[in-house]
């Protein structure tokens, strides 16, 4: 069971209190009607499923209830960074370099 830091509660809590919400930074198009079938299918179904550092949405469902984003290294299953919803996606290369040190 992982420990996850909630950026809103400002504490580490056991994974039991959280739910993973899939890949982060996939914004819903503001006008879906302009989307081609291919674009819409991409939005609905295509995820990078990275082997390595992956930006994910997590929700502190049994805590503050907030969604936030996290960078998780999917091979070692380690959280490298959490940040609030709306904040920009961090530089993954820089994070990877930092993690490898």
């Amino acid at each position: 069971m992982l420990l996850i830091y909630c950026p809103y509660c400002e504490v580490e809590r056991p994974e039991l209190e959280f739910r993973c919400g899939g890949e982060a930074h996939i914004a819903r198009p503001t006008d879906p009607s302009t989307q081609s079938d291919e674009q819409w299918a991409d939005f609905l179904y295509m995820r990078t499923n990275t082997k390595g550092i992956y930006a994910e949405r997590w929700r502190h469902i049994h805590g503050c209830g907030r969604f936030f984003n996290a960078l998780r290294e999917t091979v070692g299953d380690k959280f490298l960074k959490v940040y609030k919803t709306g904040e920009p996606k961090p530089d993954l290369d820089a994070i990877a370099k930092e993690a490898s040190r």
Binding site: P14, G63, R66
Partner: protein, 191 residues
């Protein structure tokens, strides 16, 4: 660090037998209170606190209390406001009037939850039979409040003293929560 916070609103329900009463820990049902789920953006927080009669805390996992008001921080834009059962309408009206110009959400959830009072030397031990977070007073000081889980049920826990807690759960989960607490406490009176 405080060793006790004002928790006058949470009193044992006089009409109920204790769920558990042994020397090292007791579990009592709390009497009804008014509960209002309050949501707003930052700019309305101060006005809301003023109208409610106690400030809405901005510090995560904290509570502000007086003898007849409690404001629990549950999330960055979410508070649980506690008042005497009979104050429900007055409190709602006062808040609504004061916040007319702010977008807010005030919802009566008085009946959604029930509280039990868990206290005694072994209260932390007993709660940790099902609550996965560190309840040591260094990690969860007196006055802290949080939502978490107790085995498979969502709960809210407020620490009112080193050895005393208020545990709230949605009504239909309370049989499970209280039942398991009582079962797990069984060994405390074993020979």
């Amino acid at each position: 660090m405080v060793d006790q916070v004002t928790a006058d609103l949470y009193v044992p329900d006089a009409g109920e037998e204790p769920l558990l009463a042994i020397s090292s820990v007791s579990i009592l049902r709390a009497a009804p209170v008014s509960r209002l789920s309050f949501r707003c953006r930052d700019d309305a927080r101060a006005a809301a606190g003023k109208a409610f009669g106690v400030a809405l805390p901005a510090k995560p996992l904290s509570a502000e209390t007086t003898s007849d008001r409690i404001a629990f921080w549950l999330g960055p834009d979410e508070w649980m406001l506690i008042a005497p059962e009979s104050d429900l309408e007055a409190v709602s009206a006062k808040l609504e009037a004061a916040l007319e110009s702010h977008p807010t959400s005030l919802v009566d959830v008085s009946h959604r939850q029930e509280a039990i009072l868990v206290s005694g030397d072994r209260a932390v031990w007993l709660l940790n039979t099902g609550i996965p977070i560190d309840l040591d007073v260094s990690a969860f000081p007196v006055g802290s409040v949080t939502r978490t889980v107790f085995h498979k049920a969502p709960v809210m826990v407020w620490r009112t003293g080193e050895d005393s807690f208020v545990v709230e759960a949605w009504v239909s989960f309370m049989d499970y929560v209280a039942g398991l607490l009582v079962q797990s406490a069984g060994e405390l009176s074993a020979a």
